[in-house]
């Protein structure tokens, strides 16, 4: 079980990097991607790096061969961007870039791995979403829409693939200390979080560890929130 192979997009920094390090520590093999794989400041005998721009059809097509050879059991759709601005000021380019990177990429990447998982009758597809996708956030109409899309995609795919022992879930972090949230986090936000602190990448990575394991066998089609209690339904 511990020699399962995971593909993690956007694995060079932030939450993705935390996930890669944590999976390696658990004994998994990891294929981590980044737009420029020279950005990786880590090495490990079980870690393989690859260049991939998840927004770019040609880049994803070229990556197909690497994925087929690697034959991952686990996909972590993590690559994502923000391009925040109030709706009145948001351009169509801001909208398209975020939908393409955060949502269309999930479609493209999942396509690459599903056939292999069907053959094995085992698979884990986990996409990193955001509480912004369910609670909304001013300045993030594009980002919220992309993340809500990822959650809904996961539910439908979970229904399609359930009979083949492939689970599909998303993880919705709240405020996690990374480059992406630098400058967004202040004392006011911390006060609103019941657990009185912002999260760290390990808080998210530990949920990933659980979801990729056999222990999570009976969980699919869910969006699991890791936010210190900030958003409660």
């Amino acid at each position: 079980m511990k020699n399962k192979k995971a593909l993690v997009t956007g694995g060079n920094r932030g939450i993705g990097k935390g996930i890669v390090l944590s999976l390696l520590e658990q004994g998994y093999f990891v294929l981590a991607t980044s737009r420029d794989s020279t950005n990786f400041d880590m090495s490990h005998p079980n870690l393989k790096l690859a260049n991939l721009d998840v927004c770019d059809h040609a880049s994803v097509a070229a990556f197909q061969k690497i994925v087929s050879d690697y034959d991952p059991d686990i996909l972590i759709n993590n690559a994502g961007v923000t391009k925040d601005s109030l709706f009145l000021r948001m351009t169509e380019d801001d909208w398209d870039e975020v939908i393409n990177t955060n949502l269309n990429s999930v479609f493209r990447m999942t396509k690459l791995v599903v056939k292999g998982m069907l053959k094995k009758k085992w698979g884990r597809i986990i996409s990193i979403s955001s509480i912004s996708g369910s609670m909304g956030n001013p300045g993030q109409t594009n980002y919220s829409a992309s993340k809500a899309g990822v959650d809904a995609f996961s539910r439908s795919l979970a229904k399609e693939l359930g009979s083949r022992n492939i689970t599909v879930n998303s993880i919705a972090p709240g405020f996690i200390q990374t480059d992406m949230t630098d400058g967004l986090i202040d004392e006011d936000i911390t006060k609103k979080i019941p657990l009185q602190r912002v999260g760290n990448v390990e808080d998210v990575a530990s949920l990933v560890n659980f979801l990729v394991s056999e222990e999570s066998n009976y969980i699919t089609g869910q969006t699991l929130v890791v936010d210190g209690g900030l958003f409660m339904k």
Partner: protein, 77 residues
């Protein structure tokens, strides 16, 4: 038995976990052999892979029995 028929039967038995003895040329994947909708897509993918063909979606819909699969493959390879 043609070579294509042999191969198709093998793929179907493998995918649907049925015995060769229970399969006839007229067997319907869904009605006789218990395939679900995902099985039928996987079968078409397996035929494509085995025979190096690309089966268009609208034609794949009509491949519902052993015989229809064999006929399509023999006609197009």
């Amino acid at each position: 038995m043609s070579e294509v028929l042999d191969k198709v039967v093998e793929i179907v038995c493998n995918q649907l976990s049925v015995n060769k003895e229970d399969v006839t040329p007229d067997s319907s994947f869904v009605e006789d052999l218990g395939a679900d909708s995902l099985d039928t897509v996987e079968l078409v993918m397996a035929f494509e892979e085995e025979f190096g063909l690309e089966i268009p979606d609208d034609e794949a819909e009509n491949i519902t029995t052993i015989k229809s699969a064999v006929d399509w493959i023999e006609k197009n390879s």
